[in-house]
């Protein structure tokens, strides 16, 4: 009986090992709720819009040169 109860106790002890499960993964939630992530998005969008305008400008200049020929 002692052996069986010891075995049951040891088998059940795995429950304690799952202590990690409750751990929360850190995400930038507060950063987002404070609203400042929008600043980063705005900066990235500005950069990309600038780059795309630049690409369009190159495209237009090329078209002009191609037409001259």
């Amino acid at each position: 009986m002692k052996k069986i109860s010891l075995l049951a106790l040891l088998l059940l002890s795995y429950v304690g090992v799952f202590a990690q499960q409750g751990q929360t993964v850190e995400m930038a939630d507060s950063f987002r709720s404070s609203g400042k992530i929008y600043v980063v998005i705005a900066v990235i969008v500005i950069i990309f819009v600038g780059l795309s305008v630049y690409l369009f400008a190159i495209d237009r200049r090329l078209k002009k040169i191609e037409k001259e020929k």
Partner: protein, 224 residues
């Protein structure tokens, strides 16, 4: 080929990328240990590789077309596609290293994925070296076209196949599950797939610009 002179798809590309930039930061992502918010890198790091694959694939198609027809223009397309692909290759490698630093612990941990990506990069560097070492135009175009056709499948094997057969830290390899069913949910696909298409289109756009410049140079040299 006419479409490279049109504007509508370029506008669309820019708009879709803008969408992925905004949505990529704001939309919900799965909360996972180690990755945390860096999971959003999926929206920016992986599309670099997709863009690279797209232009490299186009370069192989035009290499075959060149060998079939001997049209010089096709050779120019091949070169500029490879050049643009190399650019996105470097972006993919560097963003990957950056991401690795904060999730794997080191910029370069000699992971099979990283190592074979570096080897495949050298493969394409060899393309540039081979091209520049031949003076005669037709010979250069022919030899580099053949090299390009063989380099592409080797690159695919190095990047996509070999790392998957061993243990690698990179998702989708070895005993390491991919960003598949387990850790990527459908909310991510809403951003990821448009990003794949849009960044590929952007790479095609840049390659087409470079091709048009090279075409003008080529015609100028022809007259002289």
């Amino acid at each position: 080929m006419k479409f490279i002179y049109q504007t509508w798809w370029k506008v669309l590309t820019v708009l879709v990328i803008l969408y992925t930039l905004i949505a990529g930061f704001l939309f919900e992502v799965p909360t996972l240990p180690i990755l945390h918010e860096t999971i959003r890198n999926v929206y920016f790091h992986v599309p670099m590789w997709m863009a690279m694959f797209t232009v490299f694939t186009i370069s192989v198609i035009y290499s075959i077309k060149y060998l079939n027809t001997g049209k010089e223009e096709y050779d120019l397309i091949v070169v500029e596609c490879v050049n643009t692909g190399m650019f996105f290759y470097v972006l993919g490698l560097i963003t990957g290293m950056m991401w690795a630093k904060y999730t794997w612990g080191e910029f370069w941990s000699n992971d099979p994925k990283q190592n074979s990506a570096a080897v495949a990069f050298l493969l394409y560097c060899a393309y540039a070296v081979l091209r520049n070492s031949i003076d005669e135009e037709q010979k250069r175009a022919k030899i580099s076209a053949i090299y390009n056709i063989f380099a592409f499948p080797v690159m695919v094997v190095l990047i996509m196949v070999l790392p998957r057969m061993t243990d690698s830290l990179h998702p989708g390899n070895g005993g390491n599950p991919a960003f598949g069913k387990l850790d990527m949910d459908n909310s991510m696909r809403v951003v990821l797939y448009p990003a794949f298409i849009a960044w590929s289109a952007l790479a095609v756009w840049i390659a087409s610009l470079r091709y048009r410049i090279r075409l003008i140079e080529y015609k100028k040299n022809e007259i002289n």
